[in-house]
Subunit: 223 residues, 2 copies
DNA sequence: ATTTTTATTTTGTCTATCCAAAATTCCGGT
DNA sequence: ACCGGAATTTTGGATAGACAAAATAAAAAT
């Protein structure tokens, strides 16, 4: 069995690869993400490379092998199903579940995982709108459109909020910017660096493009 | 924060003290229970003694300090609430939950724990009939009567099945010897080493005293 | 009172992670 | 072609846990 430490490395490599168009992950970035000193990451990556879980070119970065990716997806699946369980069954706040799942993802057996999956009705996305890999490691990866890519007048519903920071999530919740919510793009000021949106039946909000880039929407057919 | 390893030591010391009338726990017994070599236990106990979590007399055994006991009870609370969650909410089999809880007990935060407690309706006993400590570490410790102390003709209901072995629990389940079940003691043959009981509306079973001693009943007022 | 047996502690080693700081490599700008 | 700085790797050292086997103390048996 992989240790919690190894599982976290694999998961983070996966997420970083994903977020950067499948380019190999730089050591510095990985170290920061995992929260260790650079040398620590280098040492660990050598171990993972020996176990054929990653491909590693010194100074060229890391990338998962298919075995490594499979393991990473399994961790991601546990993480996201746990998040959903915490929100749906235990009524834990949306903004807190990521932190809790960070531990629980390493303590859930396959048996329990499948029970959770069944109880939740085999869901496909977690509370932040991130897709949940299947037991076989398949993942429907539909990248919705970022708010920064929307034009004024367009409508849709929020599909994903891609930041796990509690503060940010609380902000989003306060302004009803949560997955599923229907919204209208009111204005987009490229030079003023701001996007204004109106969640259905709620007050409109103006976001800096920094924040707006973390919110993704599925646009309605006709704009 | 205490590591999972430390938490397990504290929990097992607590359970062993409990099971042996508050006598100090012998190192050998502790080592076996925790599943490590004797020397490993000795080393760990020295660490725990330094942290004032146990009192330790070389060659005299260990016992928890009140701080240690408080921490142990907190682990036991998590363990038992998780067991109940697994059975009640996730429909996991009675005989498997102990094993699963062994990992999960170290990954549940206080916030999540209280949510579980609330969801289950503030229960007082776990699926095996073991009492659940309160958040403040209080524990109603009602030791019911073992089957081996019952007389033929007596009636009652099963209160506790005190063994975590999956095989034994499956056996118990197969014969309806699970907490809550009403039973009648049919015969007790001290020299033949056997007890025969009838679960309500089910076939009677004959148990060796070894097995019978693990099953506790709350006797009905009138026998 | 010895001797034998058993339980416990010591000692010597290992592995997995981690950090700090020194050494190296590489890349971009001159 | 060369230099400086950023990223990365090496090196040296720490800590938590764990095992095996030798040493010791305590208990039991003779
Ligand atoms: Mn994690
Ligand atoms: Mn999520
Ligand atoms: Mn445990
Ligand atoms: Mn139990």
């Amino acid at each position: 069995m992989a240790s919690a430490t190894v599982e976290d490395y694999l998961k983070h490599i996966y997420l970083l690869e994903q977020a950067d168009m499948d380019n190999p992950v730089a050591m510095g970035r990985l170290a920061t993400t995992v929260g260790v000193a650079p040398g620590t990451a280098t040492a660990m990556i050598k171990t993972l490379a020996n176990a054929h879980l990653v491909d590693y070119e010194p100074r060229g970065g890391v990338r998962l092998t298919s075995t490594g990716q499979q393991m990473a997806l399994h961790v991601v699946r546990r993480h996201r199903l746990v998040e959903l369980l915490l929100v749906e069954v235990l009524s834990l706040d949306w903004s807190l579940v990521h932190h809790e799942a960070e531990q629980l993802e390493h303590a859930i057996s396959d048996i329990v995982l499948e029970k959770i999956d069944a109880l939740l009705g085999y869901p496909t996305v977690d509370p932040h709108g991130d897709p949940i890999p299947t037991a076989k490691g398949h993942l429907k990866y539909v990248q919705p459109v970022s708010l920064t890519d929307c034009k004024p007048g367009q409508q849709g519903r929020i599909a994903r909020v891609s930041d796990q920071d509690t503060q940010f999530l609380q902000f989003a919740e306060r302004h009803r910017l949560t997955p599923g919510m229907g919204i209208t793009i009111d204005a987009y000021d490229k030079y003023g660096d701001a996007v204004t949106v109106s969640p259905k039946h709620c007050d409109s909000v103006t976001l800096g493009t920094n924040a707006a880039s973390k919110i993704f929407v599925a646009l309605s057919k006709k704009s």
